[in-house]
Symmetry: C2
Subunit: 328 residues, 2 copies
DNA sequence: GCATAGAATGTGAACGATAACAACGTTGGA
DNA sequence: TCCAACGTTGTTATCGTTCACATTCTATGC
């Protein structure tokens, strides 16, 4: 920086002003400094800046290191959005979403003096790790515990599940079965609630809940049961993978989809359109959720205040394909 | 740090020594200092350390912001491995793997003074962005250009494709068709080479190459063609998603798998076991590749030298399920 | 008993930026 | 004409570490 100042014939402070786009720098010197910067190939040292300002243009993200479609899409969308605003994203991935792992990941981020923190904490128990956070660090939770007081962005699971269930009822099915996700996931719980409430509102019977774990394997297992029950004509699965396993089980038992059994999934994975048959499903808008999260986080970072109450909910949309038909 | 020193009754330099586990600190003072650190809840400032040492415990990763199974699994595996060694991972994701985007992402990382760089550059043209790198930054390329001189870790695509093709030939099929990935991906090109060489070595005829783009959609499109050709009895697809689309197309045309047509995929996505029928496929070992990459990178970081020639190849394994049978 | 090596600790400078304040020059109004 | 205000630039201190070097103390060998 001193070299740049010398070359441009100004003081280092003036160079700093140009760098930070301060006002009160004459156009003439600004140009001289920029020329010197270019000539020397100078680039500012972020560490030094972080040291004196006490903050950095880095956002820390805590997320589970999984290949589940929802969380990983969310993460990708957030990274992209953050990058567009000039913030770097530091991902501290954890293997399990238990309290200790999350607390450790948060510690690592605080060590790095991140400007703000985003936690993708879709399971119960994860939120406790955020209780003892220093109270001056901006935080946004995505898909976190709705009961806990914090800035929160969630996909509206209940709404999406209602849409799926109502779509099946509207096709003429007397009732709709459900294979859920893991019970400690808020997403899964919300989808169960939406399914139940849609059935209740329609005056339909509520069949027993079958529980899965997001995997195709769990869809297959539950499918082997469902395939033998002739009264099952419509199933809403907690995600598309479960639907895939269910499709295989029904196929093996000679029950055709959608002629004998109708199915609606959740997530709209890219392959859903190429299941046999193409799957009707619910598509969450990850980009919108990422944008909302970033907006709430930046608002805190810029204002220097910490917000613990704003909620933002993103409504998913039903994508109709060929896996739903009226009952025989 | 001064506060800790005062409380422990030592100098700030001694605190620094304890922190960095220097020798020549007596057990007694070490304990005093540790106690003071704990009591004050002190944590060292990474920015200050980075400023004076000129490096940080952060590894920069450049990767495409996609949900493709291969790259994203690779990324997840690498993050986990890096974390275990105390390095933070900073992901600079790019939307497209063109030269300019990659160069920008690399610039961002250099700004942050990363200790080393990992580039997941599976497509042709991406490597050019790394030509003008400052020559003192440790670099490992994953799935990059085999022609370009640099430290490189790759999954052995040729080997995997040979295994898949040979498995189909061994089942008695006179020849094997192939739906490839995008031609500018090294992975795709390697799989094509492996397929061709296996056919050639077996003295089998080499059918025309069909080209896809990793998506189920492209598998479906090509499948509509293949389904009408009675001589097609065996297909090796460049990945599992393509196989899924192909399955749907064959199904729609009344051709059964594996009775009429046998299929082998690549990737072993978690759902492959629940396709209808369960898919025989090739599984790359992402953890091994990640571990190898990290090892090569750390070797450079620790030694302070830059390596541009080491190659490491990871052999994938065939996973046999139910999508292959002898021809009718 | 004394020089000496080496272990344990302390002192001051340095890393590269920004913040706070001072100083200078120019403009405009009384 | 003079002073106030403001726009522009420079000077110095500071952030929290590590590095290089200085110092003190203890043990060892002759």
């Amino acid at each position: 920086m001193m070299d740049v100042a010398r070359l441009a014939g100004v003081s280092h402070q003036t160079v700093s002003r140009v760098l930070n786009e301060h006002k009160n720098v004459s156009e003439q010197t600004r140009l001289k400094v920029r020329a010197a910067i270019a000539e020397l190939g100078y680039r500012p040292d972020r560490a030094a800046r972080a040291l004196v300002t006490g903050t950095s243009k880095v956002i820390g993200v805590v997320a589970q290191n999984s290949s589940l479609f929802g969380p990983s899409s969310m993460l990708a969308a957030f990274e992209e959005a953050a990058q567009a605003t000039g913030f770097a994203v530091n991902v501290g991935s954890v293997r399990n979403l238990d309290e200790r792992s999350i607390a450790e990941a948060v510690e690592r981020h605080l060590d790095q003096r991140v400007a703000g923190l985003v936690v993708l904490a879709p399971v119960a128990g994860a939120g406790a790790a955020l209780e003892h956070l220093p109270d001056d660090v901006p935080l946004v939770t995505i898909d976190g515990d709705p009961e806990r007081a914090s800035t929160l962005v969630t996909v509206d699971q209940v709404f999406g599940a209602r849409a799926a269930t109502e779509h099946l009822l509207a096709a003429g099915h007397p009732s709709v079965w459900h294979i859920s996700g893991p019970s400690d996931w808020f997403d899964a719980a919300g989808r169960v609630r939406g399914w139940e409430s849609a059935l209740k509102d329609a005056g339909a019977e509520i069949p027993p809940l079958l529980s899965g774990d997001w995997s195709a394997a769990s869809g297959y297992r539950n499918g082997q049961l469902l395939a033998r029950l002739p009264e099952v004509t419509a199933v809403f699965t907690a995600n598309d993978n479960i639907a895939l396993g269910l499709l295989r089980a029904l196929n093996e038992h000679g029950r055709r989809v959608p002629e004998d059994v109708s199915i609606v999934g959740f997530d709209d994975v890219p392959e859903a359109a190429y299941f046999t048959p193409p799957l009707t499903t619910v598509r969450p808008d990850f980009d919108a959720a990422a944008a909302a999260s970033l907006e709430l986080l930046l608002a805190q970072i810029e204002s220097g205040t910490v917000d613990t109450s704003t909620r933002r909910t993103i409504a998913p949309a039903l994508v109709v394909r060929d896996s739903v038909a009226p009952p025989a």
